[in-house]
């Protein structure tokens, strides 16, 4: 399942996938895979992404 909330939060801060990848210490392709729903990140990476984007885990990763 695509993570549109993550993509929107990133775009909201005018960050490219590469920018976010560098901020959290992963490859651009990993951020792309998370956004496309091809890869389920570990809780550590989720937290790093949330901190980088100033969001909570619920806001970015909770699925109703």
């Amino acid at each position: 399942m695509k993570n549109l909330k993550l993509k929107a939060a990133r775009a909201g801060l005018d960050l490219s996938q590469d920018d976010l990848a560098k901020m959290v210490g992963v490859s651009r392709q990993t951020i792309s895979a998370v956004e496309k729903g091809d890869y389920n990140p570990t809780i550590n990476l989720c937290i790093s992404i949330c901190k980088a984007l100033g969001k909570t885990l619920d806001e970015l990763f909770w699925v109703e």
Partner: protein, 176 residues
């Protein structure tokens, strides 16, 4: 210990030192260890698994050919290296096409430059050797044939990296 076996051992030791030096040159932070993120580590684990399976299948194929009395003696030393090459190609191909080949600290321009140099050296060494002393000795492939295989291996990696880069560029355009 014969001169040939001593040369083989020295060659392996020099090879190990050379690999460490080249890795330090390729990695941006000067470390010999390449860093990968969590997704890449998982994908590389799968890549090693498929590389291992490929090597096992290649070994069984060679064994089967021998059981069926197919003459493989003309391959010489190459017989031992064919399963290794098959495993390496499977591992590298899977890594490249799952974005797990380029590490976080890898300098790709340096990597491509060094790999191209090694490929050219192997091709040149093999071709010069074949020109001077021939491809075979007593009907058996010379060990220099392995240089040709190494050159082909690096060529395959280069083509795969190029194809993957084109695929990634297209993907980036679609996502933009």
């Amino acid at each position: 210990m014969t001169d040939a076996s001593l040369g083989w051992i020295i060659g392996i030791l020099v090879g190990i030192v050379l690999v460490v030096i080249l890795l330090k040159a390729i990695n941006k932070n000067g470390k010999a260890k390449t860093d990968y993120d969590e997704r890449q580590q998982i994908e590389r684990g799968k890549a090693y698994k498929y590389g291992f399976y490929t090597m096992m299948i290649a070994c069984v194929l060679l064994l089967t050919l021998q059981i069926f009395e197919v003459d493989l003696s003309t391959l010489g030393l190459t017989t031992w290296f064919l399963p290794i090459f098959a495993g390496i190609i499977a591992q590298i191909s899977y890594s490249i096409f799952h974005d797990a080949y380029e590490g976080l600290n890898t300098s790709m321009p340096r990597f491509v430059g060094i790999m191209t140099g090694i490929a050219v050296f192997n091709f040149a060494f093999a071709l010069i050797s074949f020109g001077r002393i021939g491809l075979t000795e007593g009907g058996i492939l010379r060990p220099q044939f392995l240089n040709l295989l190494c050159g082909i291996l690096f060529l395959i990696i280069a083509v795969e990296l190029l194809v993957k880069k084109m695929m990634n560029n297209r993907g980036e355009r679609d996502e933009a």
